[in-house]
């Protein structure tokens, strides 16, 4: 399932290789990256390959293997690649790299970065939660206690407090031996939040999100998904989703490099359309998200105002990873 080449046999088109830090599997974020590289291949009339890694060893091996075949652009998603890309970019100055969701410390001519300001969209989701909470308690389930994951919990609390002073929040971490995939523990953590009174829960538990939604169904609270429209698979419990448009970042980044404008860092937030909520997107009516319900019209309206403030620079959201 690693190879995904729909061309590359004799065609003179451009070649792109995407290396993922983890198996793509049900990882919505990585699925979007794959969609992005496919879209770029279509747009550029080229071919693409996807190498999936699972740990630091395989990441290094996959990047080395990608460099060996010298495609036009090697796209990499995830902060895990920062060191590896820096090393390879220095060793292979002719090879173009697109690093999505992270950047190298030093800048390189041949490394283009795309980073996201997740906290902006999470803040808006938090605002929805603040407006919707009945018991004035919200919460978040994070995979691990890391700065990256705190971007999904702290702005959530901040957004809720912004619209509803007096709201309290709590964050629990999945942890354990298999934190990214332990749906049972994620479910248990979410249930714990619920029994503590939280009725709006941000689900940033990666593979464990399913567990959070299952808890939401059982305990009757509302949840917020990430990366994809998770309302569809979990009808009736998901209010909205924080969307990180990796596909856009990958496709745009590749185009940018081919245009000769590589070597820069582009930051994607609400303003650039790189972060969003399902509720703020065009097809919201068919999204199956709770936010699309007529009753939540006011909520959505308030969130749109906040979004406009952030886009206009009138409101800044603190970045916990900064």
């Amino acid at each position: 399932a690693a190879k995904d080449d729909d061309a590359g046999k004799g065609a003179k088109g451009k070649a792109f290789t995407l290396v993922t830090p983890d198996p793509v599997a049900q990882n919505e974020f990585l699925k979007l990256a794959v969609a992005g590289v496919k879209a770029a291949a279509t747009a550029q009339g080229g071919s693409q390959k996807v190498f999936q890694s699972s740990d630091n060893d395989s990441r290094q091996q996959n990047v080395a293997s990608a460099v060996d075949s010298a495609p036009d652009v090697i796209a990499l998603v995830g902060f895990e690649f920062a060191d590896i890309v820096a090393q390879q970019a220095e060793a292979h100055p002719k090879q173009q790299f697109l690093l999505v969701d992270a950047c190298t410390k030093k800048t390189y001519e041949n490394v283009t970065c795309a980073v996201f300001r997740e906290h902006e969209a999470v803040y808006l989701a938090g605002a929805e939660a603040g407006l919707l909470t009945k018991g004035k308690k919200v919460g978040a389930v994070d995979v691990l206690d890391t700065p990256q994951f705190r971007r999904y919990s702290e702005p959530f609390a901040a957004g809720a407090k912004k619209v509803r002073p007096g709201v309290t929040s709590r964050t629990l971490f999945v942890g354990g031996q298999s934190p990214f995939n332990d749906a049972a523990r994620a479910k248990d953590q979410a249930a714990t939040l619920a029994s503590g009174g939280a009725d709006q829960v941000m689900a940033a538990a990666a593979g464990g999100n399913t567990g959070v939604f299952q808890a939401a169904k059982g305990k009757g609270f509302q949840a917020y998904g990430v990366d994809a429209n998770q309302c569809v698979g979990n009808p009736g419990v998901v209010v909205d989703n924080v969307l990180k448009k990796t596909d856009v970042a990958v496709e745009k980044g590749i185009a940018q490099i081919l245009d000769g404008k590589g070597g820069t860092t582009v930051s994607y937030g609400l303003k650039e359309g790189g972060m969003s909520l399902t509720g703020l997107e065009p097809g919201v009516a068919d999204s199956a998200c709770l936010i699309a319900k007529p009753a939540n019209k006011d909520v959505l309206q308030r969130v749109e105002e906040l979004r406009d403030d952030i886009v206009a620079g009138k409101l800044t959201v603190d970045d916990p990873a900064a």
């Binding site: 690693a2 390959k49 999936q52 740990d55 290094q60 091996q61 895990e80 590896i84 700065p147």
Partner: protein
């Protein structure tokens, strides 16, 4: 058993052909082929890409790099296993070695080459001390080593993770990782490859183990303890002390592997990255497979490293998931555990329960 060096090349080849390990590998490859055919894949193409991916010019470097940690951990776990002791806490010792090396490398006020040495020593010391703790649990508190080492492994990983995320963390990074070690505080690599001097250190450790096992009085005592602990105790070999020392050595080698990991690219401790690939289990498996005989352990570990790397290459080149190679590994062991006994049963009186550790004759 003592390896008889006086055997001619012909008998070595003959022994290899008759070796149950080889038979098990062949059987596992056949089972894997059945799997492949069953899922509609081409076994020859798949195995071909495993081979070229692991041993071809592009792959051999990766195999040796992965091999550095797998061989190191296999040797680490084989050392106590030679005396019949199972150390299930390799992950914890590995990670403590890594974090200790990182902290030393970051803070020790020494010139770079000395700092590398200090970091390696700190890693070994941390691993040794922690593994010895498991031995103390058995010796003093009567908690079986298997359980004490297993249980102690988890808090060690949590502790290292805590250090990486709080006191030692790299400010501004979204990864739970320490700062990069200062310039020059790193193990030199061979040319432009990813293979570092770490491989040499690990091979030296394996060689020292081989020598001690086959030629020294202590190695002899360890083997006899493994074969019959009551015999060893009767002859005056003190079990608890030996356990403590062997666990210390085992932890030191595991810690060394952790330190090598940190002193190699990307020159920092990243939470979870030392253990994510599961090299400890692979190493344990290699040691079990070879009944902890030093040469066999190292060879089995290298074989598994090649499978690991080749599996990823196969996944890149064909539609076959790399899990296949993991299945192959396990099937080899299942066959070997069963086959071994078939050859073994003839030699010994049937006992009521299969509670003795498996021993092979000599090496792989």
């Amino acid at each position: 058993m003592a390896v008889d060096s006086a055997t001619g090349a012909r008998s070595v080849a003959g022994r290899a052909l008759r070796s149950p390990a080889l038979h098990s590998v062949v059987a596992a490859v056949l089972v894997g082929a059945l799997f492949l055919v069953g899922t509609g894949a081409d076994p020859i193409g798949a195995y071909g890409s495993v081979l070229s991916g692991a041993l071809g010019p592009d792959g051999i470097g990766s195999t040796l790099t992965t091999g550095t940690s797998i061989i190191g951990l296999a040797v680490a776990l084989a050392i106590p296993m030679r005396a019949g002791l199972l150390n299930l806490g390799g992950d914890g010792q590995l990670v403590l070695g890594g974090i200790a090396a990182a902290a030393t490398g970051l803070y020790v006020p020494l010139p770079a080459p000395l700092a590398v040495l200090a970091a390696l020593l700190a890693g070994m010391l941390a691993g040794a001390a922690y593994a010895a703790l498991a031995a103390v649990c058995q010796n003093q508190f009567g908690v079986p080593l298997l359980v004490s080492s297993l249980l102690l492994g988890y808090p060690a990983m949590s502790f290292a993770s805590y250090l990486a995320r709080f006191p030692l963390k790299e400010e501004g990074s979204s990864l739970p990782q320490t700062r990069r070690l200062p310039e020059g505080v790193e193990l030199p690599a061979f040319g432009s490859s990813t293979v570092t001097v770490g491989l040499v250190l690990v091979v030296l450790a394996a060689a020292a183990f081989l020598f001690a096992d086959a030629r020294t009085a202590t190695g002899y005592e360890i083997r006899m303890t493994g074969l019959n602990p009551r015999f060893a105790a009767y002859a005056g070999i003190e079990g608890p002390r030996l356990t403590l020392r062997l666990m210390g050595l085992s932890g030191a080698v595991a810690g060394l592997v952790g330190a090598i990991g940190v002193l190699s690219f990307p020159y920092r401790f990243i939470d979870g990255s030392l253990t994510a690939a599961g090299h400890t289990w692979t190493g344990l498996t290699a040691a079990l497979l070879a009944s902890a005989a030093p040469l066999g352990t190292a060879l089995a570990a290298l074989f598994f490293a090649a499978l690991d790397v080749g599996g990823l290459a196969m996944e890149r080149a064909t539609a076959v998931p790399r899990e296949l190679t993991q299945v192959l590994q396990a099937v080899v062991i299942v066959f070997l555990a069963a086959r071994l006994q078939l050859t073994w049963r003839r030699a010994r009186k049937p006992g009521p329960a299969a509670d003795e550790p498996v021993r092979t004759e000599g090496d792989l």
